[in-house]
């Protein structure tokens, strides 16, 4: 991982140009040969830093109009089982364990609020939780949704193994 890799990571967070040879465009921007862009990109993929280059689809545009964040207060010993229960739903895209009395936080997207209710009720019942153990926080408004990191701001030194 050097400064060029970091600059490439920054560039790859812009939209991939919809042209016949998109890597040429990226190469020109970074002022390096296209072969080097492709070689570095393969390297970043092999190390798991870049998962893939792919379209991010808008959930609302494809009919997934109801989205919500759910927080559950789950006793420590039940966390693995409840996690399996939550993660099994294709409607759940993100699930994090957090440092809080509400220990599991996950997002659900569904075709309507009814489907979301159904999922939450199922999880509640199967996990043996009460209403007091659940925070349901439906989206009212999205102010910012595009994740973007600034990598070239990071020093190239000491970066890259991802271990804590």
């Amino acid at each position: 991982m050097d400064q060029i890799d970091l600059a490439l990571l920054d560039a790859l967070q812009d939209d991939i140009p919809l042209v016949s040879r998109p890597y040429d465009v990226i190469a020109a921007r970074l002022d390096i040969p296209t072969d080097e862009v492709m070689r570095r990109l393969r390297g970043l993929q092999e190390r798991g830093i870049v998962r893939c280059l792919s379209p991010v689809l808008d959930s609302r545009q494809v009919g997934l109009t109801a989205t919500t964040l759910v927080a559950l207060r789950v006793p420590e010993e039940k966390i693995p089982a409840v996690t399996r229960l939550i993660n099994a739903y294709p409607e759940v895209s993100h699930n994090y364990r957090r440092d809080h009395t509400y220990s599991l936080w996950f997002t659900v997207a569904g075709k309507d609020e009814g489907r979301i209710r159904e999922i939450i009720e199922e999880i509640k019942k199967r996990a043996g939780l009460t209403d007091q153990d659940i925070l349901e926080l439906p989206t009212v408004r999205r102010f910012k949704i595009d994740v973007r990191f600034s990598f070239s701001g990071i020093s190239a030194r000491g970066v890259g193994n991802g271990r804590t």
């Binding site: 919809l18 042209v19 893939c52 792919s54 689809l57 959930s59 009919g63 925070l135 994740v147 990071i154």
Partner: protein, 162 residues
Amino acid sequence: MDALDRDLLAVLERGLPITREPFAGIGSHLGIPESDVLDRLKRLKSEGVIRRFKARIDQRKVGILANALVAWRVPPGRCNEAGARLARCPGVTHCYERRPVPGRWDYTHYTVHHAGSRRDVEAEVAKCAEMTGLDEYTVIFSTEELKRVPAVRVRENGGELQ
């Protein structure tokens, strides 16, 4: 949106090939010319079905190890303005307004922060508080990523795409 659009999006979900002419490769896989692939993608982009077309990055592997969800209490009447200001704060990757649970959880606004360490996240959040004048908030750090997949997967939960 037709069946070919869906097939195209499903193929691209696995990632754009790293070849000189990647869209031609996608086209030959689907049995259509490169120009058709590009035209379809441009249309899907202009329709808003494709929000972005970019790298999915595992930021932890680049040393961005700390992640926090911050819940903010926003005075009534400041919802739009505070949301817009939070969204502009440096380091904020997501900003949402959500319905509260009155009496039990009165926070209405949420930001997501990623940084090298918890201390860096805390500094970033303190800056946000200063910039917005919001002083009631709670920082909820993640300790484990249990699931993280794209919000829309064409074949699995694609709504009208399925």
